[in-house]
Symmetry: C2
Subunit: 411 residues, 2 copies
């Protein structure tokens, strides 16, 4: 379970007039560390590397506005009514077709369920698969949003150390093959959040081989697959495990996060259960936005749009890396991302990320300490830096200030 | 638990190449009966009383289109970005102000969380409150959507017989006060789904008195409070139990269901937990739609719009009741709704609703057997009829045919 203090609220014994009988699953849920930090860092004068927002300048507002007008003009009444749980069929078909075209994956529109961003996929997956105490293998460091949502299903997390090429194979095999194994393995093979690491082709195959034939289901979160700077797709692990994997995706990073549109692809029997869970959760995802997205994708050149995002993020990542190379003292290490939105920084031993966070904030720079990405403690000397939401000039300025803070704190 | 056969899929032992290790909570989840029936009844030649759709003719498409244009023109980039979990503040303030104005409820915008329709409120409530085995009091018959979503948290349902004035007080007191009592009571005091019954003022006060001081939390689902035909609001039960109740609402019936916007109001400590669960579930609700709704509510005359909906539904309900009075044989009984969207029909003993369903479908009329609204079996001679989605002429025609079927089957 998540190694975190129980909050008084969660125990129902806070400073209230009455103690509420919260469910057991709430007692061990981590309070959102990011939430609290982001509240501090939202001021415009702060250079923030703490969040995980796409660059708003790269949202095609005019294109989406036109798509919305078209939907309202041509089929507004239907777009505003209740709709099917599975989602708007032409949107599901677009997703299936794009998997075929870009990744060579043989996925039918019937294998695609539209969700509220890919975050909801994780909730539905947890709901249909995780019993209390089930072992869940997850990367170390792991995606905080996954840790939060899975925690509510009371699993036992089994973290797998993430190296430069992917999960440590010996540790992974030990978790998946020993004892009861693991109910699922959750991973982000492309530009992982928080580390920015992309699994090598060899690691993908090796991990799939370890999983194959066990009872473990792979949950492959591909939020950043379209944002590989080189524009070359890696092999999705689903290709090796078609019947033993669930693949999630999102329009948040390539279209617009505020529309909350993601999807999950799963084998038919798993899909049947996901649809039951989705219907119980909220009947269906926002139909108006599904229609606007589908219309937009008919008209827009998505490939060209994604190339623009990739080029911009590559430039922003380069600015960050260059500034770090120029300013960071010896003993500080960082990943060099091939895509996505994050750089992962490891400070010298004994240099607490929380002190760097506090010191940087005094210089109007926000960073995210890596601690909440560790389900078993650790990471006290790590930071996650986001480069996608800040323009290059401010990235350089922000990293200069951060480097100064680290130089003064970590000798 | 729900009295239903376990489906082979849910058991993970279907005709698959591999059995998937689904969580225990999925084993007892009822397959959506409505889902299956609605698939049959979606054809345009069918007169359908089976669904629960608002009348699409009463959606203000032009007003919402203009609001969307305004949002895209004035603040599109922000409306398409990630946003706060709690929801767009001006929309939350609108909801709080309207509670003050219409119901005299003292609710702050901070007490309001925006959700994906009110269905998601029930999922979040289940998540933060229900442990497996917890007793959940629910009306008998009860709202199917609530039964489905709560089932996933593995409660023990304690149904409370619903009479013409509200829940049976003796039965209710016995459940709430005896033994461990009940974790929560879920009810729809205004124009209940499926029965169409509205609790009397006396029943509201009596139920609140029974709950007060126990550990039971009231979950008051007010999807239809704005749709009382007389335009006069009833006292919300939350007024009697401000710190011991959760109130849910929805824009689906007064604006547009496809935008999936609902909300939940709760005491602060419960709200803290709802926000944690909401963030884990899907970060936040569709922000674009929240902005469009908020803009629409600035410009539109919502009260006038709701008066139009009430007048239309009243006329549609009258058509249904008149046609039933004219055509139904002796021994058939029905509720006379003061609002909402449903009429509840009780057939003579020994006249199975499933036979009526099948017979009516042959005459191109779809009805919904009441069985899935009973968590403990029963209801085999009941039907739910929806009047909101069908125009008056077709209502009369449909009820004539349905009466003929019942006359021939139930002598």
């Amino acid at each position: 379970m998540v190694n975190e203090q129980k909050s008084p609220q969660a125990m129902g014994t806070g400073p209230s007039r009455r103690p509420y009988p919260f469910a057991r699953r709430m007692h061990t849920t981590p309070k959102s560390f990011i939430r609290e930090i982001l509240k501090v860092t939202e001021k415009p004068e702060i250079i923030s590397f703490a969040g995980g927002l796409p660059n708003p300048g790269l949202i095609d507002v005019a294109g989406l506005a036109q798509a919305a007008t078209d939907v309202f003009d041509n089929d507004g009444r239907a777009a505003l009514q209740y709709a099917t749980t599975e989602g708007y069929f032409p949107l599901r078909r677009f997703i299936a077709d794009r998997y075929k075209k870009c990744l060579g994956l043989d996925i039918s529109p019937d294998d695609v369920l539209i969700t509220n961003g890919s975050q909801q996929c994780l909730d539905l997956i947890g709901k249909i698969l995780i019993d209390p105490g089930d072992r869940i293998a997850i990367e170390r460091p792991g995606y905080l949003g996954a840790i939060q949502v899975f925690s509510l299903y009371e699993p036992a997390f089994a973290p797998v150390e993430l190296g430069a090429e992917g999960p440590d194979p010996a540790a992974f095999e030990k978790i998946v093959s020993s004892g009861d194994g693991a109910k699922l393995f959750y991973g982000i093979p492309n530009s992982q959040n928080p580390s920015g690491i992309t699994y090598s082709e060899e690691s993908r195959k090796a991990c799939a081989d370890i999983i194959e034939g066990t009872r473990t289901i792979l949950v492959e979160d591909d939020a950043y697959g379209e944002l590989q700077f080189a524009g070359k797709a890696h092999t999705p692990m689903k290709k090796y495990l078609p019947d033993q994997s669930i693949l999630t995706g999102s329009f948040s990073k390539i279209m617009a996060p505020g529309m909350r549109l993601g999807w999950v692809c799963a084998p038919r029997l798993i899909m049947d259960q996901l649809v039951v869970a989705k219907q119980a959760s909220d009947l269906h995802s926002n139909y108006l936005s599904q229609r606007i997205a589908s219309r937009y994708l008919e008209e827009a050149d998505l490939d060209a749009h994604i190339r623009r995002i990739r080029a911009a993020y590559r430039e922003q990542a380069d600015s960050m890396i260059t500034a770090m190379r120029d300013g960071m003292p010896d003993g500080v290490h960082w990943t060099r991302p091939d895509g996505g939105m994050f750089v992962w920084v490891t400070l010298p031993d004994g240099c607490p990320a929380m002190d760097v966070f506090t010191g940087a904030l005094k210089k109007q720079v926000a960073v995210l300490p890596g601690i909440p990405f560790y389900v078993d403690g650790g990471g006290t000397n790590t930071l996650r830096l986001n480069f996608s939401s800040t323009d290059t000039g401010r990235i350089t300025e922000g990293i200069e200030r951060l480097s100064g803070v680290i130089r003064s704190l970590c000798r």
